[in-house]
Symmetry: D2
Subunit: 278 residues, 4 copies
């Protein structure tokens, strides 16, 4: 049976769960899974409910509005594949992993197209029958290149952009077009080693663990809300290149895990922190 996902957040007060579940009950909804969280510091309530059986979404939301505080955010999402565009540069591991998952329906998404600022990955993408756009940044001012990328993206009307090792920093102007809708994989356990060459930075610092971080892109450099992170052990015998090699598996796994959470509508934002119902 198709399910829907209800996402509610509002200032915390007594009785919210009772009221929301009451509305769902009266609408004859069957709750498949339910989670609540109260952020005590912020005094804020978050609730994610997956349910089946509702025909009239508009009426459900209207009935919820009545019993919830005025400032409540209510979102009702169909549990259907998200439409996405992927941006990449030259490295195949994250992109390749997404293409295989996509091919076999492992990610709740449809990859509409891949955009590369280099041509390197075109053959890989085209193996899977997906359109590859080569939009080189060479010789172009940053704003012109971004305008071209935005135009191509726009033609697909995607819900999310996924940066699968896209090695260009996006300007705030670009990001503003897709607020909370761009997911990046950064090859360090942020906030350590933000910016360029994190494996080189990690080598120089002599760390014993390296990692990867998937996050929403905001207007800062690698400062957006973190969705997923993982690490692996390294030692002194790892050169920066060895670390990069070892890190690839973490990068692709962390990115895939984050996309799963995003595409299944499991994430709220609370300031710069993510609340995740996994």
């Amino acid at each position: 049976m198709p399910t829907q996902i209800l996402l509610i957040d509002c200032p915390d007060e007594t009785g919210l769960v009772h009221r929301v579940t009451g509305v769902l009950f009266r609408h004859g909804c069957n709750i498949v899974s339910n989670g609540e969280f109260v952020d005590r510091e912020a005094g804020h309530f978050f609730m994610r409910t997956e349910f089946s059986g509702e025909e009239d979404a508009a009426r459900l939301v209207a009935d919820l509005r009545v019993i919830l505080p005025a400032s409540t955010t209510i979102r009702l999402a169909d549990n259907v594949p998200r439409r996405i565009v992927v941006l990449a540069t030259k490295e195949p591991h994250c992109l390749g992993d997404l293409l295989i998952r996509h091919e076999y329906g492992d990610l709740n998404c449809e990859i509409l197209a891949v955009i590369g600022n280099h041509e390197t990955l075109a053959p890989l993408v085209e193996k899977f029958g997906i359109r590859f756009h080569h939009l080189s940044h060479e010789g172009l001012p940053r704003d012109e290149h971004e305008a071209a990328v935005l135009e191509t993206i726009g033609s697909y009307s995607p819900e999310y952009l996924v940066l699968a090792k896209y090695m260009r920093v996006l300007t705030p102007a670009f990001v503003a077009h897709y607020p909370r809708r761009i997911i990046n994989i950064h090859h360090s356990f942020l906030p350590a080693f933000a910016g360029a060459a994190p494996y080189r930075q990690a080598y120089e610092r002599g760390v014993k663990i390296i990692g990867a971080t998937a996050h929403f892109v905001n207007l800062g450099l690698d400062t957006g809300p973190i969705i997923a992170q993982d690490v692996i052990a390294v030692d002194h015998s790892h050169s920066a290149a060895d670390m990069a090699r070892a890190g690839r598996d973490v990068e692709k796994t962390v990115l895939a895990r984050a996309l799963e959470l995003v595409f299944e509508e499991r994430i709220f934002l609370s300031g710069n922190r993510t609340i995740i119902f996994s």
Copy 2:
């Protein structure tokens, strides 16, 4: 404010969360945290709610009975330190870790006494002002030794027994006195290497990870419901003794984690599986 913990489990049906939260709301309870889980295979519903503000526990439970299926298990626990007795043999690491945590109030428990089948650990226990009973098993039939242990335990009326590397197998007759109330730490990632000398077994098998498992003791050998597990990497350079040494930190951390979950009433049993609201 003191809190109470409500634990409910029953066959799943529509509207349970709404009904339970309704009773709590009408009693003026303030929900501190709430979690639900439906075991789809078993068709069973589990709910753990921590709340404050209720004076009349008996009436609350009575009111819940009315709105829940007849076969529902309802338990209401005060969030107070659990009374425990610890059993150990010769190894100090798990026991020492518990003693330090206990001394500084890190575990929601009161250690009433420690029983050892060897005298080795008496000095450690007595440093912390806790009574140590040396009940040697030497020269005694198993049932006589267990009778002596049971008698000593009984004099403290503990809620839980903790086996902190107690290297004797308990008979079903013993276990039957404390059903679901004995927690053991086993030095392997069960079900691998149950029984004697798990590190030796792990060495012989040439595994690349070793681990520890905290579980409730049931009538079988290392077959009880698993509460917590963790592992660490090893390699060919680890002898069985090296593995034992490396495993100690995992053992003590896993045991402490499990006790935290037990003492905060975060665990349901579903057959031989644990449902944990962490």
Copy 3:
């Protein structure tokens, strides 16, 4: 500069490192990396040396023979891509991961062909321009099917066979053709949950970690020497199917890690245990 890999193992005695490095020095070899290990229980010495600069391999080995115990095993391997055949069934994640790594030169191997007992994975393999053989087992006695598989494999003269979720148990007769040359990925942290349906077994046992094990195939069922293992945490909310899904990323990473070790000639066997110079 091309390197060669020298693998020596013999009963331990004093002065072995000095003698071996002396021969390499007199041959003008430049040692790139060197590792030794003494298995104290077995009284056995293992040494792996990667070096450059030797022209006359036969003379080097002859000179080593003179200064080492009579029972010494000496192996000199070129550091070139290993020739492999992959066997698979229906699941694409491990195979897809290998195909992408292979396409981009991340594994020190050449995939000569893929054999499937189902047709499912043919389109995936053929995207990468690799030959896929569909050799169905249906309606065939086991020995006839294995004979057909062996014949196809034989036509490629591979150095290694990789079982990338090949869901058929191989008979000892089959395995005897490729001793220590078949690498399997099993979807549990062996020795737990050997045999069929390990995720189902894991679910039933209620474990809090699941894992994967890459091992050489020997004549037993999932009893061969372990090369690599890893685990991830699960909880009560994971059905057996959820575990299988979560386990895929571990399976593919562990298999790739093991193949890297095998193809770079980093592994000795000591009985049923692996000695790995990583």
Copy 4:
């Protein structure tokens, strides 16, 4: 049989292992374990050899000097317990863990005394029959307090100082007295969250992993060479206080692991990076 540890580092050149093992062989030494590492970027060679059987250490070192480059550092260490002084503040978990390990001979060290800038931990230390010095910093200029601490430490002539959650920043003047001889445990995965309140910082940043780092103290703030690190997963439900609680087990395990490496003379420094023969 007592063993000795030989630590050699020098600019890399061909034949070093052969030459060193030759000297050991001629001295009749029995090599228990041996490890070499070449830092390719720095062109530097490191070798750690544990051996038994040498009577005349001075002659061994003299003979090594002859066959090694002039700039070689040679160190010969007895494998005996290191003499240490521990500094702490109010938190008992790291200190308590060290005391238990020390009591049972798990760490290759002798704790000569503990110094606290608060009195809180005196009872814990004294349980184990170890001298506790309360040296309050209150009302004292930093240099006066440090002078008092240095004087007390000096009276024990320790080889190493261990900061077991000592919550005061040491001045460069202090550190200069014990170069590469002070080991600190910092409650974050450095370089993330250096300085004050790392768990608060981690909470604010919304990370999904937290960790701990043991490092040698140098003249900077949390910038010294990293010895050991580990992490654990957290999520949005962890307050900063919850993170601190969860982090304690990582802190104590990482500190103990680092001390084991230091006390067994397994660490070289290469600039600000550690080379560890574990």
